[in-house]
Symmetry: C2
Subunit: 790 residues, 2 copies
């Protein structure tokens, strides 16, 4: 494409070659590229690739890239473009809210109808005393649904397995796991979640809803899915990372809102748990998104209240109206609540510990192949069906209370008094919990004026079963949330404690169930304000606030002494290089020089095409310092930093020079800033796809106009902790390290996310044994050893 | 103090002098210091001093200062110290929560009893038909209370006037107005607020409570008040800015919680409106603090419910229990709510606009002296008394409804039906609103099933009066909040709209009042999530959530088109150099070089005492680059940045050297890191207080061990916008600008907060007319001109 090369006269050409001659003399040491240090991170089948400078996956970069091209682009930006940009941003938030609320509603509708039909069929057979047939139908329906969910997950989108919250959280922190926001992941997440939950597995819908919301936001932020030809030109105004990640934050807030009808809780959850960078403008936008969700959901429920939604009726779209009466509690009610919080914290940390161990075990099985994955899911389904159908037989029939407002035994699907195998006028309390969707079980547990409804033993059995089932169900290859299982387990725990305390407290048992849920959630998820608000929005009673705050504070404090929050544990086990806000104490003792490793690949201001191709092919780096050397400057000067993606664009456009002369302003005519806009996840071009002739390989590129001329830099003597503050707060992907005394090299290295990972640092500096610096934290050493030996 | 000078042998001394000779040759240009650019900021009497590098007030600095001394200190820090630090942090949060809740309770108790007694006395006289005497007693009591409040404010602590939220917000952004957190400010804020509110002025208690909470936190964070000899050794573990500002954030959250009994709302308000830097650990700590407040308040109310708190009884500690019945609303209720939001937004922005203008007018009066301030306050008090007592006479007496559960006319102080001048069996609806505390008026307006209780005209009169009074009452020299007046005005507005719409909507008028409050708050304060939660916590009804969200969204959007939020306007009129998160568009066109001004004062690594004293006395800079020159290094090298406070400590300790040789590690023996710990507000030593002999002036200081060797730097070609991101996100006070090509000077300037102020930039670059870049925003040009001409 010689026509694209600017014309240079013969004399110019000669002069230029002379000028470049000394540059050509300079031979950089072409050492082999760094190995991906997978081994130390990659514990599970879901691979995470570590070190954003080391691997070709796209990763976060909030740095303002200031090269001549972008500056030019910014200068000519008119008011209309700015207005279009702002308008599109808000419109997208509205669309995300709309779509997420419709999907959330559809999810609930589908689950209530599928699971409801299943329970109605089985109950009818039970009424006809065909117990064995009922069990077979129940178990095989569950098995079929589980099989379907796990098959589509395993075959179409393995990324859709699990909750999705850890993946979204990692994405917002800057780790882009491959394919987590593709259209097929979205499809599997929705359909898989519906069928897995309808299969009575003890899993939740909140996590998948968050992932769904984030997925929709990500796809819309990229202007559609290129792979499936679904793109919208007018949506493609977001060229940078920040806008896209902001949208994903809004999407995840919308997800929580759609799952729990908790708009404020959704915003707070996105703020407290998900987002790594937060600005108040984002708060305002997330709030707008969740308001849209809340208002649309409210309107849709109005439609359903008229009975047009099948079995949905009163069920679904949870709002557990605990107690509309005034609750009064006094000082003497505080000690039981404290005990509830402490035990809840301990239980929560045990839950996290066990879940983590079981996940490792399951990963070990899942790695063997798809067949094993499916078998595992089926086993869990059969096991669950047996427990759900079998355990209620242990409970003795209880006679119906005379003063209840509900019919007893329950007619239809939902209600507190399930007949199961009992004679007329009696009900089976365990069946009321087991033989129900999780939503209904929670409603039953939270309900007031039912203090004598459940037996001690029934509650204990239910609690233990839920605890075990939720741990074993999460790891299967299907979309599975953690929120609802923890709520139901916690409610059972709280109610059990309430029963033991009995009349020693003024609080009724429904209230104890709410507090128990709060305690277990606090012990497992470890968020505070957002959980508090979510529980309030779920139960619709603000008078509970001080008690819930107390319980959450205590359970979180207790649990924090043992281990980390569940999503962090899962992220760690998946090997995501999550960048923490705080620096570890040993980072203050290390300078940035101590962690910068490997040979540094440097480009010249005017570089040979062949060199660029060679370096791009032999290294995995994503950013390269550009250095001007004599004779272009007096001494070697750091000109800036150029990104791999931009180099590939340059190579693809073949904007080459025959001679090493600086190009003039006409360079910009060949490019628009869109060419350099950040590509969507996994949509970047690869160096291997670019074919260049030998002649082209001998030509030159003037990198100056495309180089970020003002990268952030730190001095080599800076402590790692201080560099981390800059890296983390500003949201960088590359941080250049410059020497204290400017000598013959103007740059000593590049810091990336990888260099701040404790594993990497401790690997380089084995003398810093981790134990010496770790925070005050108790462990379960024996339990850990025991499990490891298994 | 020659004994403190390390011993140097004669030979060493000679060698050193030789070594230093070339350094002494170097003469820096000692140009006159920069003038404080007060004129362009300082519009009001409350002076703000601008440019943290230019003035001696302490300002924010989150940078990790890495000098040898601090590194040494960190290295020897044991586990016990770390544990003590963590423990003290949490304990302080607990103490802040405890004290703020007690103060908040005391505040309410005092107000309810003082104002209650006043109303009881007046009502008794009214019953005896002594109308003129009643008015005189009412007006003179109000006048007396106002006089007391304004006298103590004007004489003891003028800083306690106004809301206090703008000051705290500016402090958290890094602007330290003098004396805002002193003990006397705290005292005046509490006592003045009680008496001003009891004087029936239309002002609120939330703002003063926030300031009180912040004050307590600041005083405890500094380990007590040195001035009054109240210090606690064990509290003095917080040596840096971040810890102290974190505590103040917790304190302000506690303040909102104590004012409204809204713990979650308090945390969110601190997050959304107050804090400029937020971390999730801080969220957790703020939540803990507000939980403590909520639980203690709850316990104290239990005590009062037994009737031991005088007139407090059911009043005070607001929780307006709007409707415990289920609220149902449908699509057709949405249009009125939209209208309410739009008009609320417009009213809110007019409110902000007028308040700002009235404040300027009042400042003009207040500047004339204390006497004028007091007179102004008294005039407002008399004006208020006249309106409150006079306007109810305009309303006609209405006969009591037969189906009310309350007694009519009201017996005692609070209730919906005030008798005023009416015959038995009748009530005066305007008096029920005017002749009451604001809390009770809000309760009356929010109450349900009272749709026919108020007359259209009464409501309109009440709304207009409140609107006018709240604008004129804020500017007087007394502690005065804005929250409650806006709530009561908004409630009147909402109820009036509800009356007009009448039976066209399902919503009752109490609900309209709540939504009206939300609309006006949204239009004035412009926060979203926190206001939403505060209103929910106030009204205790979560079913309102979607409607409140809708109203807030709309009113904020509408109002944002006209002007900024009320606290920002007040901050601006006070001249605080508030650092915004986002960069203005023109900042992308300017490089940092364009704004760095003035001669740069540089110190050498080993500097003469006389030079240091001279520079410190003749400039107001707070940070100085330290440069090593030949022969100490090959070429001039930037060693780091030293702070004024640290230089003064060095001068005070007189750690001088007779000869310019580097000091060894024994330098540390003379100092502990406590000497260099950040001083409390206004407690720093001044250069003028240090007396040095002529002999000492000729000696040297080795600055190396005390210089921050790794300051953050940016290259001179970086755009101002990009530098602002670093400056703002990391929370810096100084940012060194280094040249692109290292030449003979290794540093070209220092950026401070001052350099990022739009006023400063536009002053330097008049070509950037502000209008060209300003955001899409409508104005009230005519109204503005009209007022200006007044």
């Amino acid at each position: 494409m010689s026509s694209e090369i600017p014309n240079v006269s013969a004399a110019d050409e000669e002069a230029a070659v002379l000028l470049y001659e000394p540059l050509l003399q300079y031979r950089r040491q072409q050492e082999p590229p760094l190995e991906l240090q997978r081994s130390q991170f990659n514990n599970t089948s879901q691979v995470a690739i570590v070190g954003s400078n080391l691997c070709p996956i796209e990763s976060l970069d909030y740095e303002l890239i200031e090269n001549d091209l972008f500056k030019q682009d910014w200068r000519i930006r008119g008011k209309i473009q700015i207005f279009q940009y702002i308008f599109t941003k808000w419109m997208l938030c509205f669309l995300i809210g709309l779509i997420v609320s419709l999907l959330g509603f559809f999810n609930n509708l589908a689950i209530e109808n599928i699971a409801g039909t299943k329970f109605v069929i089985t109950s009818d057979m039970m009424l006809a005393r065909k117990y064995i047939a009922a069990f077979l139908v129940f178990a095989s329906l569950n098995l079929g649904l589980t099989l379907f969910a796990s098959l589509i997950t395993a075959l179409i989108a393995p990324e859709a397995a699990g909750s999705g919250i850890p993946e979204v959280k990692a994405y917002l922190n800057g780790v882009d796991a491959p394919a987590i926001f593709s259209l097929r992941t979205l499809f599997v997440k929705i359909v898989g979640s519906i069928s897995a939950i309808s299969a009575s597995l003890n899993i939740g819908k909140a996590g998948p809803m968050v992932h769904t919301g984030a997925c929709i936001a990500a796809i819309m932020g990229e202007g559609g899915s290129k792979k499936y030809g679904l793109t919208w030109k007018w949506l493609q105004v977001f060229k940078n990372d920040q806008d896209r990640r902001d949208l994903v934050t809004c999407g995840s807030a919308a997800g929580i809102t759609a799952a729990f009808r908790a708009p404020v809780g959704g915003v707070l959850f996105a703020l407290e748990e998900m987002a790594s960078w937060w600005r108040s403008t984002l708060l305002w936008r997330a709030y707008f998104t969740t308001a849209v969700v809340a208002i649309i959901l409210r309107a849709l429920i109005d439609v359903c209240l008229r009975g047009k939604c099948g079995l949905f009726g009163k069920g679904g779209l949870i709002m557990y109206d605990v107690t509309s009466a005034n609750i009064s509690y006094h000082l003497r009610d505080v000690p039981p609540v404290l005990v509830l919080g402490v035990i809840g914290g301990i239980l929560g940390s045990i839950y996290n510990f066990l879940l983590n161990k079981v996940l490792r075990l399951f990963n070990f099985i899942n790695e063997k192949g798809i067949f094993y994955k499916i078998i595992l899911a089926c086993c869990i389904s059969i096991f669950t069906s047996c427990l759900l159908f079998g355990l209620p037989w242990l409970a003795s029939c209880r006679s119906c209370p005379s003063d209840t407002s509900e019919p007893c035994p329950t007619i239809g699907r939902s209600g507190n008094y399930k007949k199961f195998q009992c004679p007329p006028g009696h009900y089976n309390d365990l069946a009321s919990l087991f033989f129900n969707t999780n939503d209904d079980a929670i409603k039953n547990l939270f309900s007031k004026d039912t203090d004598s409804e459940f037996h001690h033993l029934s509650m204990l059995i239910f609690f233990v079963t839920c605890f075990v089932l939720s741990i074993f169900s999460y790891g299967i290859v299907a979309p599975a949330g953690l929120f609802v299982p923890v709520i139901v387990t916690g409610a059972a725990y709280g109610r059990f404690v309430g029963m033991i305390i009995g009349s020693h407290s003024n609080l009724n048992q429904g209230l104890f169930a709410v507090l128990g849920s709060a305690a277990l959630l606090g012990g497992s998820m470890r968020t505070t304000v957002s959980l508090c608000v979510i529980i309030l929005e779920l139960t619709n009673n603000l008078l509970l606030l001080p008690l819930i705050m107390l319980v959450l504070l205590i359970s979180k404090t207790v649990a924090d002494a043992f281990n980390g929050n569940i999503y962090d544990l899962i992220m760690k086990s998946k090997g995501f290089p999550y960048l923490e806000t705080h620096a570890e104490p040993y980072m203050r003792q290390l300078t940035v020089c101590d962690v910068v490793t490997g040979p540094l690949q440097i480009f010249h201001g005017i570089e040979k095409v062949g060199n660029i191709v060679h370096v791009l092919k032999t290294t995995g780096h994503n950013g390269f310092p550009v250095v001007d050397e004599p004779p272009l400057s007096e001494s070697p000067v750091l000109f800036g930093l150029i990104l791999r993606a931009h180099l590939i664009t340059l190579l693809k456009k073949k904007a080459f020079l025959r001679t090493p002369v600086p190009i003039g302003p006409d360079a910009f005519l060949q490019f628009s800033s869109n060419d350099f806009a950040k590509k969507g996840l996994g949509n970047g071009d690869k160096i291997e796809d670019i074919k260049l002739s030998n002649e082209e390989m001998e030509m030159f590129i003037d990198l100056h106009p495309f180089t970020n001329a003002t990268p952030y830099t730190v001095v080599e003597t800076m402590s790692l902790a201080k560099a981390l503050i800059l890296f983390r707060e500003v949201g960088l992907r590359h941080l250049l390290v410059v020497p204290k005394v400017s000598g013959h090299i103007p740059v000593v290295g590049i810091l990336t996310r990888h260099d701040f990972m404790p594993e990497h640092i401790l690997n380089l500096n084995p003398s810093l044994t981790r134990g010496r610096w770790k925070r005050l934290r108790f462990r379960f050493p024996r339990l850990g050893r025991l499990i490891r030996e298994l």
